[in-house]
Homo-oligomer: 248 residues x 2
């Protein structure tokens, strides 16, 4: 049995538009936030080009390395959408018109509108499981532990609900944030001491500028609320001693 | 001599806060846009945790695979900032107080304020080259082809100017965008034909929703303006035939 603390995931963002800087990726944040809420830790994200050999190699590496793999992008109808074909090759499954997907799309469009371009959206590994798309008809799919989602953020988001009952989460990852009006170098030493005493809580320190003022967010993460509370008290103690303001 | 078309880069985003979904990464887009403007193609991005062995392995892989490597994050003064130490190990260079960095920081702070936490920001591979930081004192650094920048987006951005003369760009990557009031499946077939005839222009097709309406952006990218123009004309021809509106 897998230890519930070890349930992890990897994310593969497929698309030249992210690598060229044209599009800011927001799917990583959407997927990671959702996975964390299910107690699944994202261990790695790769952004790779629309290149078949790279997609195949990355998918094959990730599906052996992580319990769950999510891909985003490249499942539309145009020539640069090669994810479905690449996943078929990665799993050595025929790539063709998926019966159920074909039938969903056929019903979705008006008679005469289900053209060749639209039919391509039904092409995928022929025995893949579908991920229904409540927004725009064309389904995503999954094969074993690899879930393939579209790149358009709003559509990807809408499809997550349909996956939730297909994956097994881990122990919920709890977090607590303390925002301080200080700079990291003022608290670095005390924070290291607290981290060393509380190894089961992961303390992240993130400087920020907000409304022209400097501050630091401390994020305490772990699976044991009690341990997070102890860690929190120890931090508040040195914060108080140093007369640092807490920002709400 | 390296072919000017082959000048590439890899980006390593270091930080648990991106993998937890807490923070949306914008440094990839900043770095990629800037590199593209210099004719440098970003081939891969990896987001990895604040974990020494992972940082070392990824840096060593990337520095052999790509002409330039950029890392973002983990060079601050707190316990979770382990990039500098990891880079030292990756290159097998002593990790210690960098003389020039120490002297910059010593001058930056008021007498008595240059505490242990602040001094840690001068710790890096001892013979690294500095990347000056016009915003907040603490410099970044580079060793051979690996450039280490901070995670805070505004500071990272401000430091790019200081790197420009340290890297050699390639042939500028030109791009042209056509926005259409259509859906991908309407143009997929014609677009494939144009792509097949114009192999030196990379055509990307990106669906979008804007102000409640569907559209598709076609992005033509390449190093030869003439070839982009030919490709553009061929696209406009079928767009016109299909009576599809162009959006400005």
């Amino acid at each position: 049995m897998t230890n519930k603390k070890d349930i992890n995931a990897g994310i593969i963002i497929i698309g030249n538009e992210i690598l060229s800087g044209r599009t800011k990726d927001t799917n990583t944040s959407t997927l990671a936030t959702w996975l964390n809420s299910l107690g699944i830790k994202v261990e790695e994200v790769r952004v790779i080009p629309d290149k078949k050999i790279t997609i195949i190699e990355t998918v094959n590496l990730f599906r052996n390395k992580f319990k769950y793999v999510f891909t985003s992008g490249g499942i539309g109808p145009t020539h640069d959408d090669i994810t479905s074909e690449s996943i078929s090759e990665a799993f050595n499954i025929s790539y063709g018109a998926h019966k159920e997907a074909f039938s969903i799309l056929e019903k979705y469009y008006n008679p005469g509108e289900f053209n060749e371009g639209r039919q391509k959206m039904a092409w995928m590994p022929v025995d893949a499981n579908l991920i229904l798309n409540p927004t725009s008809g064309a389904p995503g799919f999954y094969v074993e532990n690899v879930f393939c989602l579209p790149g358009v953020p709003s559509i990807l988001k809408a499809m997550l609900g349909g996956i939730q009952n297909k994956i097994t989460g881990g122990e919920p990852i709890l977090s607590h944030t303390i925002n301080l009006r200080t700079v990291e170098s003022e608290i670095a030493k005390s924070l290291t001491e607290v981290q060393n005493k509380n190894s089961e809580v992961e303390i992240g320190s993130y400087p920020f500028f907000r409304a022209g003022k400097l501050g630091v967010s401390l994020v305490l993460r772990g699976t044991d609320q009690n341990k997070i509370d102890i860690c929190n008290s120890e931090i508040l103690k040195f914060v108080n001693n140093k007369k640092i303001d807490i920002i709400n």
